[in-house]
Symmetry: C2
Subunit: 324 residues, 2 copies
């Protein structure tokens, strides 16, 4: 049995708690939260909840901590500290600082003799794995990733940060024409491959046309994309857009082998719950982390480094018999 | 530079020779053949051709041999001998004896201090990898594999072995209704998931109805499947069905996470040339084999055991930056 802890109890923490029910070799030691304990009700009666400050008392009782906080601040603050005493897996996804975070965690893990596997989930994660194997097996073809339709947390937050916005949501949607072009081996820039669909509720402190202008001209997030801005009432927002968790996407590699033999490789995922699937991947990643630790591995790794056989609860000989 | 040899020069050997052109870190030492040298013309002027009997003279000059013979007899005969002197990768696909072959090769590799990676390609291979990661990330959902439309070598051979058959081809075709059922998380037996489409040219030594009866009642191969048998002229066969190399298929995992959150994961591939793609995978696998050997690994492995990062020619830090 592998003893794991959930660190942080938002949607992703619940996703991990949910996924553990399907993995009989995983035991939940506890959910560790910053919040007042009385305000936290776990989904399952068997789940214990503890204050995050007591985590250190569980040294030796937890094999792997699954970090379920957000990438922006939680993980960057917590992970280096927690790794000093525990092995960790996380779903860190701030692309620009990933290499830096990886080498920081690698140094701490090597010092503390612990192991961290960073950037788990589906993208980064499952999709990274697909991009890697597709591009290794079809090296001169182009790799495309399409996201959606689904809610982008980062873009939603960017909308909420604009003056005059009360609440908002941003759906990323892949463009059908772009998918067709990629399928034919043509290159499509990510700004032309996606439409950004925004639903915004105003708070009355800024006029709609100013808010709209600020959205469509926001660099990195919306500028260059086809951005559709819809202003709606709070009532409609709460009814149609609040708490949406579905997402999905596609990785596609299409091209030729040495200018011959047209080849298309693609992986498509559809998720009714983004955090539940991410949680399920993190549980498998915690299993792999546990096994690598048993073999003496320390430092920091990514899903690109993990032998697939180590994700599964089943023994290798059964996997070879059933799946090879 | 990784020095490889192609052992056997049929469609797959040509596929490997073709794929090497796209991988600048791979050097082809030579094509080794059982045939009379004058009868073998490589696709590229730079490719050397040698008699298979001279392979041993190249000890120390070849990092990995890529075995391109058939599974039925070639690989089972050649691989154990070659592994005594060289590291090997192969596309062995006789499912029933895979575990036995793996442990035989593992013992030889450990004795000879060489490494073999068996059963590479797309199925077994890329599809095995997808079945493994999909079922680890969504453990209680059902895994389905659909093949086709494409030529099954094994079923084609089974047709050719029947008395009265001059030449034949068998296309495996996935059933749309079955794909829909799998997509909805329902179980479909492989016999109901595929149609077997046969084109047969008779040689006049047996009547059509007897041949047809023998086909549809053949256990393991056709019995239980929807099998369509078309008798055609040799002229039509040569025009429409000779030398068809296209293939494809899909791995799908559809279900829920702990009875919630419907989730669908699928990988679809379309190949204009089955051997060219298989050859391209084997080249990446030879690279991984070379790297595992450098780290001291001996024995026998499968694609389930290989860290994905080792398939790619690019350095790990670039892969993390570009693909994670």
């Amino acid at each position: 049995v592998i003893n794991i802890a959930i660190i942080g109890y938002g949607n992703l923490g619940k996703g991990v708690e949910n996924a553990i029910q399907e993995n009989s070799d995983i035991n939940l030691v506890g959910i560790f939260t910053r919040r007042i304990l009385d305000s936290v009700t776990p989904m399952f009666d068997s789940s214990n909840v503890y204050p995050i400050a007591t985590l250190k008392n569980f040294k030796g009782k937890i094999d792997v901590c699954i970090l379920c906080g957000g990438s922006k601040t939680d993980i960057l603050n917590q992970a280096p500290e927690i790794l000093k005493n525990f092995n960790c897996v996380d779903s860190f996804d701030t692309h620009a600082v990933l290499p830096e975070y990886l080498s920081q965690m690698d140094a701490i893990g090597k010092q503390s003799k612990t192991l961290s596997i960073i950037a788990g989930g589906w993208d980064p994660g499952l999709f990274s794995l697909q991009r890697l194997i597709f591009s290794a097996f079809l090296p001169t073809a182009r790799t495309h990733t399409f996201w959606g339709k689904g809610v982008s947390q980062g873009h939603t937050q960017a909308l909420k940060d604009i003056k005059g916005v009360k609440c908002a949501v941003q759906y990323t949607m892949p463009n059908k024409v772009a998918i067709k072009m990629a399928n034919n081996g043509k290159s499509v820039h990510t700004t032309k491959a996606h439409t950004r669909l925004c639903y915004v509720v105003l708070d009355g402190t800024a006029p709609a046309d100013i808010v709209k202008q600020e959205i469509v001209s926001m660099p990195n997030y919306f500028k260059g994309f086809t951005t559709l801005v819809n202003f709606i009432s709070e009532q409609e927002f709460n009814k149609k857009h609040n708490g949406k968790l579905s997402h999905g996407g596609m990785v596609m590699q299409a091209g030729t082998i040495n200018d011959k033999s047209k080849t298309v490789l693609k992986t498509i995922i559809k998720l009714n719950s983004n955090p539940n699937f991410t949680g399920s991947v993190l549980v498998a990643l915690a299993r792999a982390c546990y096994r690598y630790v048993k073999r003496g591995k320390i430092g920091a790794l990514t899903m690109l480094d993990i032998a697939p056989v180590d994700y599964s609860a089943k023994p290798r000989d059964i996997l070879i018999k059933e799946l090879l």
